[in-house]
């Protein structure tokens, strides 16, 4: 409780401007996003271990439980609710095709991590994909179907890039 202050900040979430927002100085970004109804960002451990709460801040995948909301002044944030670009739309279809989720609690973080993998515009083999998602915990699938989906997403994305 001590030292809890409100701070006024501006930022963008999924292309929507949040202006002159008062945030608590001790609230992490995940809690803030959820408090404004963006409940697709899930909190699994609140210590940066599970990856479920991963969001994109200024183009980078970030654990929203490890960053304070007061730190995102001026930032551009993207959450699971805003993954509607053509690439990620395809990725979502590919996840569905491979049943790369069961309970769905890790999916937001997995997709955010997948977005970062695709942003690298590199070919990863299955071991490479497994390494890339090794910060994202999934208790249901055993990971194999997620690796399948990401593998196909990388191939599709590289093909799309090569085709201009």
């Amino acid at each position: 409780m001590q030292g809890n202050k409100s701070i006024k900040i501006n930022f963008t979430v999924n292309d929507e401007k949040f202006e002159d927002v008062m945030v608590s100085s001790r609230q992490h970004l995940g809690d803030y996003l959820r408090s404004v109804g963006l409940t697709g960002t899930h909190l699994g451990c609140e210590q940066g271990a599970c990856g479920a709460c991963t969001v994109e801040v200024d183009g980078k995948a970030v654990r929203s439980c490890l960053i304070l909301s007061s730190q995102v002044n001026g930032s551009v944030i993207r959450t699971i609710e805003g993954l509607d670009d053509p690439v990620m739309k395809k990725v979502k279809k590919t996840f569905l095709k491979h049943n790369a989720l069961q309970c769905g609690f890790c999916s937001s973080g997995m997709l955010m991590t997948t977005k970062e993998i695709l942003n690298q515009k590199k070919h990863f083999n299955r071991d490479g994909i497994r390494k890339e998602i090794s910060g994202n915990y999934c208790r249901c699938t055993g990971y194999q179907s997620i690796v399948d989906a990401i593998e196909e997403s990388i191939a599709t994305n590289m093909k799309d890039i090569n085709n201009g």
């Binding site: 697709g40 451990c45 937001s108 915990y137 208790r139 179907s145």
Partner: protein, 797 residues
């Protein structure tokens, strides 16, 4: 993903027809919500005037409360109230976690909060209600409790010794339950045996680690005297019944809603004190309250599992035929038996299931379950199976080594032959429709053991310890009333389904089975569309709401497809018959000449049909066009439970190839194969996903997972960074294939598939590691098989 795997079950009709969906790997379209961030998890819910809870939890494993002072905490900002045991006890009656059908169980009464003596670290003592969780947590820190620390009883192995600390004085000692199972004459069997092998295995405590922590929103509406619960549980009707009973509310006025659930694995099917306290708070305050556990609370208060030490002995003749098996299992369950399932079942499954694939004429199993000052232990995915399968398969491998047989040869010699069912486990439990021989033959073809043997020798020359192993196992699925009901537990073994045609020709299905991601919604759609003759997009499914679904047990013990699926199949056939009766009147023909295809009632011999839309419109809006006495029921409800046997068993064979780094002790799983037989596969892809996910959870138990305690009962690794679970990089790709032996207990023929992987993986990994260590004449016997244990085994440390 639209491949037909097998023409699985003639009772369900030809697979080569329109709307044939059972047996196809259709995509789980309902899951798209999770990829859009639109799931409905408990913590996503906000209700008007919702308040939040945080608990003061015992910092000690065993301590007495001398005094509680909440005055300072009460003055903290945002705090509405702070409740202790005596407040909660006014609205919530205590419970006892014992059942009557398995011999005497002894466990004391339990209330939501500690009254006087805390008996595990993390037990809830007081609850703060505040506007926000953060405010509630602040106030928890200001609660002042004066404790009298008591010596804890931590080690299960000393729990029954004379000088042990007795956790519940009124019971006289720390024994919760013991049972002996005996078939044949085990003493005589061992005398006749020419070879006797023995081993003792340890299984650490681990826990479920659902990614979504336990959570509840309780909303007491005083004006209606109605309690609505939003709960991430597995069994809404069970919770409805329990809440009605313990809060003295009419069952009709308790509604339990369980929408999206972020993993359960058995963790979320028990009654927890903190959740009962949350319900109490809502009743006391008359406001909706929310409790969602944080990760520390999950680790220290979600049920733990395993925690067994088991010794076993196997007697064989000179040809490798098993004559006798004896096991002795000890388990520690924490300070209370959980309610309402009890904490006896894991041990009971060990006694029932050990030796299950084999003919063993003389069998004796003794189980002893004791109290200790650790987090309560109860049923978690594959209850008891990892212990039963590991002890059996370790002994069978040892027998093979002693006699000079290959590990597959000894199994083939001892399997109950596939054509000798119905049969019984060595413990006397009925078995039907199993295929150990066929499954093992298929597994061996996939594995190619001669190649693996060559690989092993090549690796050995390079200094790499490579090993492989095989196991066979039975999985308990689809329990009948004999599992819990016979013992007095109000846990339904029955499930129900309702299906109705709507005015537009759409079809609505509701089922008492719940969804935690297994694909319940998807398979219910497939069954309904397949059996009715409509397209998949016609069907909408409601699950997880006691106000909106038929009564039933919910999702646990791999029972959704076999029991809930059969109920829906029956209901769908009734609806179809009702529809065809009405169609026969409208079309002026006999019912036998009609069928339903592609949402149309068709004439089998050609000619004009009638759409379900038109038929529904006639019944619902223009009933006057039908002759008097027409049955207008375009809705049907059916129920189903397994009769005559305790469980519908499935079987699996598993194989594993791994290598061990002799410098680091790290085990790398190179390949993992599974052949399983769950009967009819409604959606083969979803079956495969259950197997793969299950295997990985089993790998967790075998190699990584352990709730580490110090000698004072403090859990040492209660964070996700310290408690190791399988992550993507360490996991192998898993190859799955099937044998299909339909269950004769239902038309649908489906058995369960959710737990085999978790039940079998620990055994096959241990066998493969010991296969690798055999050349050094070393072995490991304790799970998780950590690098340290391997390095100790091979003498490196």
């Amino acid at each position: 993903m639209d491949d037909i795997t097998l023409n699985q079950n003639p009772k369900l009709g030809s697979i080569d027809r329109p709307n044939s969906y059972i047996g196809r790997s259709l995509t789980r379209d309902g899951a798209i919500k999770h990829l859009e961030g639109r799931g409905q998890f408990v913590d996503d819910l906000i209700l008007p005037r919702l308040v939040n809870l945080a608990f003061f939890r015992s910092p000690y494993a065993h301590a007495e409360i001398k005094s509680i002072n909440i005055d300072k905490a009460n003055k903290y900002p945002g705090v509405l109230n702070i409740y202790i045991a005596e407040d909660i006890d006014e609205v919530c009656k205590p419970w006892i976690g014992v059942l009557g059908h398995l011999g005497e169980m002894r466990s004391p009464e339990q209330s939501p909060l500690v009254k006087k003596t805390a008996r595990w670290q993390g037990e809830p003592v007081a609850v703060v209600v505040a506007n926000t969780r953060a405010q509630a947590e602040d106030a928890v820190e200001a609660i002042d409790i004066d404790w009298l620390e008591k010596e804890p009883q931590i080690d299960m192995e000393t729990a029954l010794e004379k000088d042990a600390v007795v956790i519940h004085k009124e019971l006289g000692n720390n024994l919760f339950w013991t049972r002996t199972v005996e078939q044949g004459d085990v003493q005589k069997g061992f005398i006749e045996a020419s070879t006797v092998v023995e081993t003792t295995l340890d299984f650490a405590r681990h826990t479920g680690v659902t990614l979504e922590p336990r959570g509840i929103v309780a909303d007491w509406n005083k004006s209606e005297e109605k309690m609505t619960i939003y709960h991430n549980g597995q069994a809404p009707h069970m919770m409805q019944h329990i809440i009605a009973k313990h809060f003295n509310i009419s069952e009709g006025l308790v509604r339990v809603v369980s929408k999206d659930v972020g993993g359960s694995f058995g963790i979320k099917v028990h009654v927890y004190g903190d959740e009962m306290a949350a319900i109490s708070d809502s009743k006391l305050l008359g406001r909706p309250v929310k409790f969602v556990a944080d990760r520390l609370e999950s680790f220290t208060t979600d049920i733990h599992a395993r925690c067994h030490k088991i010794s076993g002995k196997l007697g064989l003749d000179d040809k490798g035929k098993i004559i006798a098996m004896e096991i002795n299992d000890l388990s520690g369950i924490g300070p209370y038996s959980m309610y309402p399932r009890t904490s006896a079942i894991e041990t009971n499954q060990v006694l029932n299931l050990s030796g299950a694939p084999y003919i063993i004429p003389n069998y004796k199993a003794v189980g002893t379950v004791v109290f200790q000052n650790k987090t309560p232990m109860c049923q978690y995915r594959a209850v008891g199976h990892p212990i039963a399968v590991a002890i059996t398969e370790a002994l069978v491998d040892k027998g093979a080594q002693a006699i000079g047989l290959r590990s597959d040869e000894i199994r083939k010699i001892n399997f109950i032959p596939d054509n000798k069912y119905p049969n019984k486990t060595p413990s006397g439990v009925p078995l039907e429709d199993l295929s150990h021989q066929a499954a093992m033959n298929k597994l061996l073809k996939m594995m190619n053991i001669p190649d693996l043997e060559k690989q092993k020798q090549i690796d050995l020359k390079k200094g790499i310890l490579t090993g492989f192993g095989v196991i066979s196992m039975c999985e308990v699925t689809n329990p009948s009333p004999l599992f819990y009901g016979a013992g007095g537990a109000h846990i339904s073994s029955q499930d129900g389904a309702t299906i109705r045609l709507e005015g537009s020709g759409a079809v609505h299905v509701s089922s008492s089975i719940t969804e935690q991601g297994q694909g319940t919604e998807a398979i219910m759609k497939q069954i309904a569309a397949d059996q009715l003759g409509v397209s998949m997009d016609t069907i909408r499914v409601t699950l997880g709401d006691t106000d909106a679904t038929p009564y039933g047990g919910g999702t646990w013990a791999s029972r959704g497809a076999g029991i809930g699926g059969e109920a829906l199949l029956k209901a769908t056939r009734t609806l179809k018959n009702n529809i065809l009766q009405i169609a026969a009147i409208i079309m002026q023909t006999d019912i036998g000449s009609l069928d339903i295809e592609n949402n149309m009632v068709i004439r089998k011999n050609g000619g004009e049909g009638i759409s379900l839309k038109k038929l529904a419109e006639t019944v619902y809006y223009r009933g006057q066009e039908l002759p008097q006495g027409t049955n207008p029921e375009l809705i049907a409800t059916s129920s189903f439970f397994i009769e005559g046997i305790p469980f519908v068993f499935t079987n699996s064979a598993m194989g594993c190839l791994l290598s061990i780094d002799q410098d680091t002790g790290l085990t790398k799983i190179n390949k993992f194969w599974v052949v399983e037989d769950c009967g009819t596969q409604i959606n083969p892809k979803l079956v495969e996903e259950q197997i793969k996910g299950g295997v990985v959870q089993g790998i967790g138990g075998a190699l990584y997972e352990e709730c580490v305690y110090d000698d004072q009962g403090n859990m040492q690794n209660a964070t996700m960074a310290d408690y190791l679970v399988p992550m993507a990089y360490e996991m192998p790709d898993i190859i799955v294939d099937h044998v299909v032996t339909n269950s004769g207990r239902s038309m649908i023929g489906a058995k369960g598939a959710g737990e085999a992987g978790t039940g079998g993986a620990p055994a096959v990994i241990m066998n493969a590691i010991n296969n690798a260590l055999f050349s050094l004449n070393k072995e490991v016997t304790s799970q998780p098989i950590t690098p340290e244990k391997i390095l100790r085994a091979i003498g490196k440390i």
